[in-house]
Symmetry: C2
Subunit: 213 residues, 2 copies
């Protein structure tokens, strides 16, 4: 198995957490996004979308999209589960993950910031304001949701970390990069601190990857 | 069951397709996004994120996030299936859906266009250029992926429509709204035409909803 990814990519971090939780070891292949390594023909042949991560299976099958890969991992190796039991609990867990994966990350990744610069001349300060706006918008709602939900435990959906925690932990690293402290969101801050204490997460962090700058 | 949604919302359209495919009837509750009905305290109590759609279950449970709800529907009522059989096929099907749900829709919805206007003064033409950029970026990759995949049939993942088709059909309506013709993407155009011929999809279309303008 080969993990085609990049140390700082939030979707890559998310997937590394899930692989670690499952105890699955994959060969690490790095693509420096700033040098457009993900737009090389060699990588585009693996994923026409030119996006990391891609998980290459033993038979050469290429799986793109971090959340699709995480669901795949949970189907082929159910233990430890990344989603809770019961359809309603699973829907709520997925919804927490999608709040980050569909409402924050797509608006704040490198290519979007580059486009804001190209189309609107957004400088670094304007890009940071844009990023902070979307993180705050969703984290305010996520904090309320987590603080109110009886399912919330040490982690997002109970006493074992799962899919939503993979998304949250990766986003926590992005927030740090944009100087956004978690103080405004006490439940989120508490869960992020708990995740940092779990080796499956800590070892998935950007600074601990072989291609870290 | 109550479907809290809005006729033009792409995520709502996606979910209406899935409900129709499952033959599930839900009471229709409309929230006019342009009048900020989704930011009323009454709706925020249902979903702190202030986003449609929300599916309200018989016991009052509120499920947010269209894709989490679609997975829920597939778990509680497996027939007809919205995902193919086998972990790899399921991962590929989910990945197609996420290409739209994570790479296009989050960048092009109403609140993002409003923010582009507020922060960068983006007028209608600039907003349209922004929308067209992200649709083209991902649809080019989606076209390649669908054209190459042996799984592609009359629909995205075979001869029966599923999760990826729900996302694609809804995006097709968004594209139309922004005057983006599907001619550039022949496989996508063919699938969209096939979906329009399926009543579960056609009856989920924005113009056929009770709150359509």
């Amino acid at each position: 198995m080969i993990l085609h990814n990049y140390f700082r990519s939030s979707t890559s971090t998310r997937l590394r957490c899930a692989l670690n939780l499952k105890g699955i070891t994959a060969e690490y292949a790095a693509y420096a996004l700033k040098e457009k390594a993900h737009r090389d023909p060699g990588f585009l042949a693996k994923n026409p979308a030119g996006l990391v991560p891609v998980l290459e299976l033993e038979d050469g099958t290429m799986l793109p999209q971090s959340l699709a890969i995480i669901e795949y991992l949970d189907e082929v190796q159910p233990e430890p589960p990344l989603l809770p039991e019961g359809p309603v609990a699973r829907a709520k867990a997925r919804a927490l993950g999608y709040m980050i994966a569909c409402e924050i990350h797509p608006l704040n990744n490198l290519r979007v910031l580059q486009r804001l610069n190209a189309q609107f001349g957004a400088d670094e300060a304007a890009q940071k304001a844009w990023v902070a706006h979307w993180i705050t918008e969703t984290f305010d709602a996520l904090e309320l949701t987590l603080a109110q939900a009886p399912e919330t435990g040490t982690f997002c959906t109970g006493e074992a970390p799962g899919l939503a925690d993979c998304c949250l932990y990766a986003q926590g690293w992005n927030n740090r990069r944009f100087d956004i402290a978690p103080d405004r969101w006490p439940t989120i801050a508490r869960i992020l601190a708990a995740l940092q204490g779990v080796e499956a997460f800590a070892s998935a962090a950007p600074p601990r990857q072989p291609d870290a700058e």
